[in-house]
Symmetry: C2
Subunit: 224 residues, 2 copies
DNA sequence: TAATATATGATAGTATTGCTATTATATTTG
DNA sequence: CAAATATAATAGCAATACTATCATATATTA
C-alpha cells in the first residue's frame, strides 16, 4: 500500500470534530499520541489534560479539535473502519469470482494488521489493538441512536454492507447476510481480545487462525 | 422455572463484593434498583449517590456492599451468566443425543429472555437488556488480566466451556469449538443490540430469528 | 511594514464524580 | 437491658470534564 496511496485521505464526518485534526501539525500529533496513550493506559484513564502534557501542548488546545474524548474515540474508530474499507475495496475490486472476492474480504478484515506507511502519523498496528479494546465503548452508550442519526457510524455500516453484499453474491438465498457480516467483523475483534486475555475461550492462537475459523464458518454456511 | 428453584442461589465469587447483597434487604434493593437504573441511564451516568437516593438510602451504605460501580457490574454480569448456566444445565442435562443437546443449549442462550419468578428481586428481562448494553465494559478494562486471575470471570468461562464441549460432542474433529461457543454467546448479545440500534446490520428482527441464525451457523459448520 | 486575523498556550474556575472518614442513630442479638 | 451491628448523615478531598478569559506567537494581507 506504499506510494499508491500517498494522496488518500480517510474522510470523516465533519460533525465528529471541531477542527479537522488533519489540517494542522498539532491536530496530527493529537491523533498520533492519543492512539498510543489510549492503548497504554486504557480509555477510562485517558484524559485531554494528560494528552496535552504528552504532546507538549495544552488541554485547552486539544478541546479546540475535539469536544470530548468520546468524540475523539469516534474519530479514531471511524478512521480505522475507513482505512479497512479502503483496503477491502482496493483488494477485492478487481476480483469477479464471488467466492474469491468474499474470501479476500474475510482475509482483509480478520487478519492481524501490519504497519501501513501510507499515513505517517498513524500507527495502524497500535490503532488496531486500541480498536479491539475500546471500539465497543464508542456505541455502547445512551447517545447511540442520536449519534447514529448524525451519521457518526456510516463508515462502519457501509463496511458491513459491502461484506453483506459479497455474501449474498455467493449465495442469494442465504437469509442472514447482514448478521453474518456483523459477526465476522465484531467476532474477529473479539477473537483477538480472547487470544490476549481469555485464552481458554478461543482456538485462534496462531497467526491466521482467526481467518481460517471465519472462512470455515462462512463457507460452510453458504451454498453455491 | 417456578417452584423448583425456590432455594437456588447463584454463587458469586466473594471477592466481588464487600458484603453479600443477598444477605440483607438493603443489599437486595441495591441489586434490584441498580439493574433498573443502569438500564435507564446507562452505566456511565449511574452513580452510587444516585442509587442511594433512589432506594431511599445513602451513598455510604452502598459502599458497604460494593467497592465501586465496576465491581457491582461484575456482580450483575456474574449473576446473569450463573443464572443462564443454571437454565442451560437444567434444560440439557437429561438430553443424551448430542445434536439435540447442543440445539437446546443454543436455544437457551440465544432466545429472548422471559421473566423468571424464581428470584423475586431481580428482573431478568431488564437485566438481560442491561447485559446487552453494558456487559463488554466489565472486561474491556486495563484490569482484566488481574481480575481474571482473581476469578471474577469463572462463571462466564465455565458457561462457554460447557457449550464448547457440547460442540465437540457433535463433531470431535471440529477445530474451533471454543471460538464458536464464544461467537454464539457474544454474537447473540450483539445481534440483539443491532436489532435495537443498527437495524440494517442484522437480519434478526423477529423473535426467534437470532436462534435460527445461530442454529444454522453452527450446524452447517459441524459434521456428524 | 504595519495591521489584523488566527492558532496556540497559560491560568483560573466550576460542577460532578468517586471515593474516605467520622459521627450519629437505628435495629438486632445475646 | 447492654452490646454489637447495620445504616444514615455529613463533611471533605483529589481528579475529571469541562468553560472562560487573556496572553502570546505566527501567518496573512492591505
Amino acid at each position: 500500500m506504499e506510494r499508491l496511496l500517498q494522496s488518500v485521505k480517510i474522510a470523516i464526518n465533519e460533525k465528529i470534530y471541531v477542527k479537522d485534526p488533519e489540517s494542522s501539525d498539532l491536530g496530527k500529533r493529537i491523533i498520533e499520541e492519543s492512539i498510543l496513550m489510549i492503548y497504554d493506559m486504557g480509555f477510562e484513564s485517558f484524559t485531554f489534560k494528560k494528552l496535552g502534557i504528552k504532546i507538549g501542548s495544552n488541554e485547552s488546545s486539544v478541546y479546540r479539535y475535539f469536544e470530548n474524548k468520546h468524540k475523539l474515540l469516534l474519530y479514531l474508530t471511524s478512521w480505522y473502519w475507513g482505512w479497512l474499507e479502503y483496503k477491502l475495496v482496493f483488494a477485492t475490486n478487481s476480483i469477479t469470482n464471488p467466492k474469491e472476492k468474499l474470501t479476500k474480504a474475510i482475509e482483509i478484515v480478520t487478519k492481524a494488521i501490519a504497519q501501513d506507511s501510507s499515513f505517517s502519523h498513524i500507527n495502524e498496528v497500535i490503532l488496531n489493538k486500541t480498536i479491539i479494546n475500546e471500539y465497543s465503548k464508542s456505541y455502547l452508550t445512551k447517545e447511540v441512536d442520536a449519534e447514529n442519526k448524525e451519521g457518526y457510524f456510516v463508515i462502519y455500516k457501509r463496511l458491513i454492507n459491502r461484506i453483506s453484499e459479497m455474501i449474498s453474491f455467493v449465495d442469494v438465498d442465504y437469509k442472514y447476510p447482514s448478521s453474518l457480516a456483523s459477526t465476522i467483523l465484531e467476532g474477529s475483534l473479539h477473537q483477538y481480545f480472547l487470544r490476549d486475555h481469555f485464552i481458554s475461550l478461543t482456538d485462534c492462537h496462531q497467526d491466521g487462525e482467526a481467518t481460517q475459523y471465519f472462512l470455515h464458518l462462512v463457507f460452510t454456511s453458504l451454498k453455491g
